[in-house]
């Protein structure tokens, strides 16, 4: 017994011994490959093993992609990237960075820290940059000049930015001009929803110059006929995604309209483009929308929307793929759904929250859409039992038409 133990002990020693020498001789490329699979913290531990591993730790390939997490203990539950690490990155690896994102909690301090890091990235050439507010739009709290000067550092130095995600920031027209002047050939994606300091002219300048732009996200007040025409000019590549947020600041706000001809031009130029629209409007603000055909593919109503508007959606949205209605009035949406099933022949996903639909109309809707409905998320309370179907029967009927098991969504009885 004791002998056996000793033997295994010796064996183990041998293995460790042989490993020692072999590990140290591991080719750098292999080491790199392994390191790429390790989280940063594990790489840091590994770097303390020997000189070669320490060298590997600093290889540029491992520093191309980095996510700065800037959180304060007072405003976040999550850990922040260690300040020493940030210092080290700026000192040793800023020229290696290519894909960078900043995740920032709700505190202004964190957003300012992100700006401070940005302004030190003078000798790097970023391909993608994302400024992400994880809780509240804290970049909006940073003094605008501070934010702009930090962002401009990146715009000026990078020269080859392809993706830029700057939603909920105080970016403005002049800084967009700098972006365009330095990165117009490479820019493919620009997300800037809720950037109140940008004007329609500012975004038009981007569309005019950046012909490779494929994805764009912005608020409705920046959308204009001119912008759509610029995006559908001959020089411009096909647009893939256009995301529009329609947000009302005060009840009763007035919204401009977009000409059908502009949308038509868009569809002619980019027949496959997706138009994603998020509405956060009061019911009486929908006047200018859905009166004419619109090539929207993904439609989301974040607050109550009237039966009448949904009726218009059924008539004027032939390309609709996904429809989410968070709330509606107290009258059932029966005819509206059936009209949508009839006219929106691409529809494959639907979600209904605080609405009402009679069970028979719902079954009819599902029957008309059939198996193409791959997402069907209906709150249980939405379905009103009628003479034809009870709540217990409806999932059967619907499952039958969908060709798979389906149940309404529900919340726990707490």
């Amino acid at each position: 017994m004791l002998n056996q133990k000793r033997e295994t002990q010796e064996k183990q020693n041998k293995i460790v011994g042989s490993l020692d020498s072999d590990w140290a001789r591991l080719p750098q490329e292999l080491l790199l490959h392994i390191f790429q699979y390790l989280p940063l913290l594990d790489r840091a531990y590994a770097s303390q093993v020997c000189r070669r591993w320490n060298q590997a730790f600093h290889m540029p390939e491992l520093w191309r992609c980095f996510e700065f997490e800037l959180n304060q203990p007072a405003s976040s539950y999550l850990k922040a990237t260690h300040p020493d690490l940030i210092k080290q990155i700026i000192k040793r690896h800023s020229n290696h960075l290519q894909y960078v994102s900043f995740k920032v909690d709700s505190s202004t301090e964190s957003a300012e820290a992100a700006c401070d890091i940005l302004s030190q990235l003078v000798n790097c050439s970023l391909k993608t940059l994302g400024l992400i507010s994880t809780a509240r739009p804290s970049f909006m709290e940073v003094p605008k000049s501070h934010f702009i000067s930090a962002l401009t550092v990146v715009f000026v130095n990078s020269k080859s930015l392809s993706s830029l995600k700057i939603d909920d920031t105080p970016v403005d027209d002049p800084s967009l001009k700098v972006l365009v002047a330095n990165n117009s050939d490479t820019l493919k994606l620009l997300k800037m929803s809720s950037c109140p300091h940008v004007s329609p002219a500012g975004i038009l300048c981007v569309a005019d110059q950046c012909h490779g732009l494929r994805e764009l996200a912005l608020n409705y007040h920046l959308l204009s006929d001119e912008l759509l025409l610029a995006l559908s000019s001959e020089k411009h590549v096909h647009l893939e995604h256009l995301r529009i947020d329609v947000v009302s600041e005060n009840p009763g706000q007035h919204f401009h309209t977009i000409k059908k001809s502009s949308w038509d031009a868009m569809v002619r130029h980019s027949p496959k483009f997706n138009l994603v629209m998020y509405f956060f409007l009061y019911e009486d603000e929908f006047g200018p929308f859905f009166n004419e055909e619109i090539p929207v593919t993904h439609l989301y109503f974040g607050r109550s929307v009237s039966k009448e508007v949904l009726g218009r959606v059924g008539l004027h949205c032939p390309r609709l793929v996904e429809l989410v209605v968070c709330a509606n009035g107290l009258r059932p949406l029966d005819e509206e759904l059936i009209r949508i099933a009839k006219h929106c022949t691409q529809l494959s996903a639907i979600g209904l929250g605080e609405c009402e639909v009679s069970c028979s109309a719902f079954v009819e809707f599902v029957k008309m859409c059939g198996r193409r409905l791959s997402q069907l998320s209906i709150m249980e309370e939405v379905l009103i039992p009628d003479h034809k179907y009870s709540l217990d029967e409806i999932h059967w009927e619907v499952s039958k038409h969908l060709g798979r098991v389906w149940f309404p969504d529900m919340m726990p009885t707490w």
Binding site: P39, L40, L41, E69, N71, A74, S75, S76, Y77, L78, K79, T81, K103, D105, S106, I132, T134, A135, R136, D167, D245, V247, P251, V276, F280, H298, Y300, G302, R303, S304, V321, E322, V324, C326, A327, L330, G351, G353, E354, S374, Q375, S377, M379, P385, S390, L391, D392, H395, S399, K400, R404, V405, W406, F407, P408, D409, M411, P412, T413, W414
Partner: protein, 628 residues
């Protein structure tokens, strides 16, 4: 008589002296552990531990303490009828038990099984103490319908029901020769304390809307069933203005403290349904609330971090905002949204709110508007909500905040519209927020939109007498839906444009309603060094009335669902995770088989069921899910 004496003399030393330890399960009806205490015993003492020092400093609010004390008083009163008493012991069980064992010459200790991790730890320690003192320990499950441990361990084909029928209520007959020695100073030493003694200021405390105690619970269940019988409609009642108010037929706090046995409730419901509906099998929806309770108990029993985000393998890490001021506004009913504030006022005053009202305030606090962690909301509920139970409270908060169980996050409750739909007139708001009484129905849900003249006429200027709304709801929901989408896209590795598809595995998905995660795919955070990463599995709820599928922390898969064909039967299935999860689920997915190959399998099962079961409990005989 000499024979009698000698008989007693022989008998008495043999008869054990028992302690029954009350924790939850504060009742004499359907209390199997209590029955064990008196079975053949010479003496029995029912004890409840209360640490007066702890009481004052605990996070539990005065309404919950009052409810508990009322439960204890009622227990004591009912025990007196049997010439017994309740012994309220001041102190901690681990400190006091050894002394009691000695002083009372105890040889048997009984208590109800507690499934929650903290309870299990405490009970294990007491068991050890008892064993060392030579005291036999008997534990019985009666707080849940199912034996949760058996659900989770591989237990062959036996459905882990905890019962066939509820056990008899403790009575003189049952007590038999078993007595409780009561000293002269029992009241001083072991009486139920008052709220003042526990350090609560009861000046101005209104009378309890929910009086505690088994007696009240048993009155309520009768009323509850009468009303159900009267309505004769067992569908989930649709929400209206009235359902928001505390109802004299409400049962949830009584189930929480165990003043009412869930098993008694289950049986009475089944009985009633059969009587009214002429022997048809009841749908599972009849037991909705009871089964939800089981679901959360099961999900929590092996997860000591069930009430936390960090380190909880079933909880999605969401970068919630820490914002004590906003949290305080929510908790103190000062959000400026009358619907939210009225609910929070009702909660603080009465200790209970309707479950949809819970959804409304929980959604508002977390993913709907304030983006504050569900853990904070859970703590406030723990303080104020009479029926707050560790497992159910945490589980529901995770669900509502979309932190677990894969709920579509677009289902948000609007803090204005939802209330208006439920109670268009706004009477609920006027009742709990009298300051807004003067507002017409048109503006009562959004008084900040009322013209100044209307505010003046209502004698309530918004921003002066009642706060302005603390958030811009449209803006908050825009931001929050975006954050949620970001988190869920990372989770599901979905890159498309759809909002619905970014939530993994909602039912009705292309893959038929289920999706298993392989470990590494789960946790989004890059800094996450969760060392039990093989446990990063997800719980998933499949279907609704018809089933629950849960993949708990342990290495087993739990099925918890109803056969679609036979309705009444609840099927439970435990499987080793060693086999491929997806194959198992494909084969045994409830409903799919039923849809695919007609109902043969189910009929076969149904026949078996009829042959094997006694008539009284046939609806609850379970089999493993293979056939369905």
């Amino acid at each position: 008589s000499s024979t009698a004496i000698s008989c007693c003399a022989v008998y008495q030393p043999m008869a054990p002296n028992s302690i029954h330890w009350f924790r939850k399960g504060l009742r004499l009806h359907d209390n199997p552990a209590l029955q064990e205490a008196i079975r053949g015993a010479g003496t029995v003492r029912c004890v409840y531990f209360l640490d007066p020092w702890f009481a004052g400093s605990s996070s539990v609010g005065v309404n919950r303490w009052r409810f508990l004390l009322q439960c204890l008083e009622d227990l004591d009163a009912n025990l007196r009828k049997l010439n017994s008493r309740l012994f309220v012991i001041r102190g901690q069980p681990a400190n006091v038990f050894p002394r009691l064992f000695k002083e009372w010459k105890i040889s048997r200790l009984t208590f109800e099984y507690d499934s929650e991790p903290f309870g299990k730890e405490r009970d294990a320690a007491i068991k050890k103490l008892a064993m060392e003192a030579g005291v036999e320990v008997i534990v019985k499950t009666s707080h849940t319908l199912y034996d949760l441990d058996k659900i989770i361990e591989l237990n062959g084909a036996q459905p882990p029901l905890t019962y066939k029928m509820p056990v008899e209520t403790l009575s003189d007959t049952l007590m038999g020769r078993c007595v409780t020695p009561i000293s002269e100073d029992h009241g001083d030493k072991y009486g139920v304390p008052s709220l003042e003694e526990l350090g609560f200021d009861i000046e101005g405390l209104p009378t309890a809307v929910w009086p505690g105690g088994e007696t009240e619970a048993l009155t309520r269940i009768e009323r509850h069933l009468e009303r159900k019988a009267w309505v004769a409609n067992f569908e989930r009642p649709r929400m209206n203005a009235n359902s928001l108010l505390a109802s004299p037929t409400g049962l949830s706090p009584y189930l929480r403290f165990g003043c009412l046995s869930c098993r008694l409730f289950y049986f009475k419901l089944t009985d009633l349904y059969r009587k009214v509906k002429k022997n048809s099998s009841p749908p599972l929806s009849l037991y909705g609330q009871l089964l939800w309770r089981e679901f959360f108990y099961t999900a929590a029993t092996n997860n000591p971090r069930f009430d936390k985000m960090e380190g909880n393998p079933i909880c999605v890490r969401i970068p919630w905002d820490k914002n004590p001021e906003a949290l305080a506004k929510w908790a103190e009913a000062k959000t400026g949204f009358p619907w939210i504030d009225a609910i929070m006022t009702q909660l603080r005053q009465e200790g209970w709110i309707h479950h949809l009202a819970r959804h409304a305030v929980a959604c508002f606090l977390t993913r709907g508007d304030l983006w504050i962690s569900w853990e904070e909301g859970m703590k406030v509920f723990e303080e104020l909500l009479l029926d707050a139970d560790w497992s159910v409270n945490a589980g529901s908060w995770m669900w509502l905040s979309c932190s677990s169980f894969f709920q579509q996050f677009f289902h948000c409750y609007c803090p204005v519209g939802f209330g208006r739909r439920t109670d268009p007139n706004g009477d609920f708001i006027r009742r709990y927020l009298p300051i807004l009484r003067g507002f017409p129905a048109k503006y009562i849900y959004d008084p900040w939109n009322a013209p100044e003249s209307v505010q003046a006429a209502a004698k309530c200027i918004i921003g002066v007498h009642y706060p302005k709304p603390m958030v811009h709801h449209a803006e908050a929901s825009r931001l929050n839906i975006e954050r949620m989408k970001q988190i869920y896209q990372q989770l599901s590795r979905y890159r498309g444009l759809g909002l619905l598809a970014s939530v993994p595995s909602t039912n009705g998905n292309g893959n038929g309603g289920m999706m298993a995660y392989s470990p590494g795919e789960q946790q989004p955070g890059t800094n996450n060094n969760n060392n039990n990463s093989h446990c990063t599995c997800v719980s998933h709820f499949l279907g609704h009335r018809n089933g629950v599928v849960l993949r708990p922390v342990s290495s087993s898969v739990l099925f918890f669902f109803q056969c679609l064909e036979c309705r009444g039967a609840l099927l439970l299935r435990v499987m080793a995770a060693g086999a491929s999860y997806s194959t198992l689920t494909m084969k045994n997915r409830p409903g799919l088989a039923v849809l695919d190959n007609s109902s043969n399998a189910c009929n076969r099962y149904h026949n078996n069921n009829n042959n094997n079961s006694s008539s009284s409990s046939s609806s609850m005989v379970g089999v493993t899910g293979v056939s369905c």
